[in-house]
Assembly symmetry: C2
Homo-oligomer: 416 residues x 2
């Protein structure tokens, strides 16, 4: 894409009404725009990152045989009354229509997927089932001040599983754990994201969160360095401050943000909606369920929060908006222009997402500053100097070294 055509522009000064680093950087770089507290638009730049995160999640969900669907945001009040959550959930958005009828804006979708599944599942032969969606979620946060880490509206990937036996749920739950680890690794959060034991509710001792270490996180977790797992503060007392896997009590307290969570729901929702099946032995039983969520904006925010330097964002390659950022300097020099355009056309042919900074009215310093702020992994400078030598200057966003390369050498690296 040509940068001269891009809707967004960077800003030199951080927004005054943001205190979180992720929002400051993302707004300055033009990836998101704040509509109001906790509600952000994704600009064409930010949307590219968002879509890459979405595609990674989709691929990993499809690998474990998830079937994608789409459930509405508007829910009837009666579904939420059936589960008791119309009154229980403080952060439920309620839309009044009249005395008898109100809507909820879905903060999660158990109240919709369970009655839907109930129409199609009646026998053990219909089980297991795994369905997921990417859909907006709404939560009435009172104090949204963490940028993309805590939004009133955000897109969640929510997966729901339906099982005939506890064993079937347990097996699938382990598969999701691995899929989630793949997702966070591919999003560049693998090293700092910990499988974290959290409270489980009636149907299992624990649920599990995926917590990414960051000072800006609102959660406190206790790391076990031996097992590479963590324990959420909410259960650390009942855990007697020791690791549930190795009983190690030398735990490290850290701040973190929850980027995903997986939960064995058991029969809480199937019983509320009468989702039953006839088992092999002929008995009628409630279906056993699990739910598994990842907030996409939160993943994006967590990446920015943890991968940056004083100059801007450093996107991990798989979710970067572009792989290559060509900086064309001296726009009046025909050779420079042609050399930059040749490389741009070659990346296009190879289907390597590339941004060409072809802006005419910008000084080299401004172009470099914008490139650092954008955080695209590979920066390639084309100037009179490089052009004279028939070379390109390559710099990785996360390294300081600049190297001069021939077109062939450069393409080899870019195509990797």
């Amino acid at each position: 894409m040509l940068q001269s055509k891009l809707l967004v522009k960077t800003s030199k000064t951080p927004p005054k009404d943001e205190i979180s680093l992720n929002a400051k950087l993302l707004i300055r770089a033009g990836f998101v725009d704040k509509l109001m507290a906790g509600v952000y638009s994704l600009t064409p730049l930010g949307f590219r990152v968002f879509k890459k995160i979405e595609n990674i999640i989709r691929q990993e969900m499809n690998k474990i045989h998830g079937q994608e669907l789409l459930l509405p945001s508007l829910h009837p009040q009666k579904n939420w009354e059936k589960t008791g959550r119309w009154k229980q959930m403080d952060d439920l958005f309620k839309i009044p229509l009249n005395e008898r009828k109100n809507f909820a804006l879905g903060p999660t979708h158990e109240e919709v997927i369970t009655p839907l599944a109930q129409k199609f599942i009646s026998s053990y032969k219909d089980l297991p089932q795994y369905v997921y969606q990417f859909q907006n979620k709404f939560r009435l946060e009172k104090r949204a001040k963490s940028g993309l880490l805590r939004c009133l509206e955000f897109v969640m990937k929510d997966l729901y599983s339906f099982h005939a036996t506890q064993k079937s749920l347990d097996q699938f739950y382990e598969q999701v754990k691995k899929a989630y680890q793949n997702i966070f690794t591919r999003c560049g959060l693998g090293d700092i994201t910990y499988l974290t034991y959290a409270s489980g509710g009636t149907f299992s001792k624990y649920s599990h969160e995926f917590q990414t270490l960051t000072q800006s996180g609102e959660d406190h977790i206790y790391l076990c360095p031996e097992c590479q797992i963590a324990i959420n503060q909410e259960i650390i007392k009942e855990q007697k401050k020791s690791c549930p896997q190795c009983q190690n009590s030398q735990l490290e307290k850290k701040k973190a943000v929850e980027v995903g969570n997986i939960f064995k729901l058991g029969t809480r929702f199937s019983q509320a909606f009468g989702l039953r099946f006839s088992a092999k032995d002929g008995r009628i039983k409630p279906v056993i369920m699990g739910c598994y969520g990842i907030g996409l904006q939160r993943v994006m925010g967590a990446v920015v929060e943890t991968q940056n330097d004083s100059r801007g964002i450093i996107w991990p390659e798989e979710i970067a908006p572009f792989k290559v950022h060509i900086i064309q300097l001296e726009d009046k020099d025909q050779n420079v222009k042609e050399q930059a355009r040749t490389l741009y056309d070659l990346t296009k042919k190879e289907k390597i997402p590339t941004l060409l900074d072809d802006r005419k009215d910008k000084k080299p310093g401004e172009k470099f500053a914008d490139a650092d702020l954008f955080g695209i992994p590979l920066r390639v400078v084309v100037s009179q100097n490089t052009s004279r030598q028939k070379k390109y200057e390559l710099k990785h966003r996360n390294k300081e070294k600049k190297i001069l390369l021939s077109q062939q050498q450069l393409l080899k690296i870019i195509k990797r």
Copy 2:
């Protein structure tokens, strides 16, 4: 995909609470599920169709250089007050928070995109810009009884364009017209969808709708057989009942449903939000805007409404949930099973979306009935009879003839 693993099942009886044909067929076939009046879930089957429509639209929007983004559904009341539409729009969903602050649920996004654009556009050099999204829209319909043709919540592709001159808008408007014609043709609605003159508002004499002929439509249009265009009833009087292109007055009145519309907004919204730019001559002017919408569920509903027979849906190939439906009969015959599976594996290798009906407890009649209801373009039967002859029986959903083919002959047709 294996049909035995599919979440959904067909139903023999149409839903009692639906009067529209599209909802009856889509619910019976298991493509959608009704959550409440005007609010539908897309099941994994329906979602496949939806995603294909989305991808067609995305491709055509990218061809005309649209930049995809994502705007929130929750809008601050003040933005809607700025344009006067907080009070004007009867079908606006309002969420009360407190006396000073309320939210609207976006029925359209001019109130969000205009102030966003205002942050980045300041000079004629920043123009034109074209941005679009796929996002949920909410409209408080009082009587939703047309199935997917009129929903309280639906996904819309909305494109917004920003221009320095009227000429630039006019040129882009014509490009969108062509893009829309491509979209409706690819969705299988080309022959019955008419570019329709409708009222334009302050800034241009006309807007244009894309109207698909169907008895279930709520609009009335007047066709000009000469020009292959139509006039919406709302302006037929001021048009003096004649075609705006050829002045022909022999028009045919028809019922239709609006599947898309394009509108020259002029400066209505840029003036409300102070979206101005400095022109080449140095003068400060308001940006000229256009907006262009397509409702995805409505396209899906219009296709079903117009392309069906007494046995079920007949999907146009480009938006069918699968291209091929293999019906494996006599599941105890190992040869039949193997032959069906061989074909299934071959289609997988060729990346041809295929559904294999491998269900064990279904009679041939049930399998054929489900196949007709699903409406997948190519049905391939594998039975003891075909297996003995080492052939496959092919039938197009929209033809009656069945033909026996060798694997090679069949693959040639499937790959087309």
